[in-house]
Symmetry: C2
Subunit: 115 residues, 2 copies
Amino acid sequence: MNLKSIKNKTGPFVHTVFFWLKNPTHTSDRKAFEKAIRKLIETNPQAISNHLGCPAESEKRDVVDNSFTYCYVMIFPDEASQNAYQTDSTHLKFIEEASHLWDRVLVYDSLSINN
Amino acid sequence: MNLKSIKNKTGPFVHTVFFWLKNPTHTSDRKAFEKAIRKLIETNPQAISNHLGCPAESEKRDVVDNSFTYCYVMIFPDEASQNAYQTDSTHLKFIEEASHLWDRVLVYDSLSINN
């Protein structure tokens, strides 16, 4: 199988973050979180693509975890970019502005094997 | 803030699946899994983008879970496409060919709030 034929692959480094807010039903907390993360999306220089979402109304299945408040996916061109992001001022500013709003964060870092 | 200005958003519906293989160190099991999932990527008609990866060598932090064997991200244009995928023949074929290889599957479905 020619790996180069695999269609539209979603970037080499996928950094997926799930946030559980302390007060997920409080509109003011949600607005503050969304304002901070949208600023991050608009200003961060390392990510080449971003997704910000909430749990979809998927069919309820045992393997689906829809307990999170927000899902944030960042695509980086390589590991070096993700490492640079960790200490980038836009990332640190986001943490400063929003970390008091969340109770739990869970991160998965996946490097493409289709290169 | 003009939401339309948010750069390069990664699609409306992000379906993220983590697989923990029964025998993650067995080359034959990994090859069989990768063959089956690559066939899914190449033949599935609903997803508009795909990422197949393994845990990145991220800096070890408490919030990072790098215990999975494979990460598979599918981007769908909308919820209806993801629902159609659940019963699509390419998906059922993949499960038939590879489900005996995994011990655990965890799914997160996220719908963009940037539309």
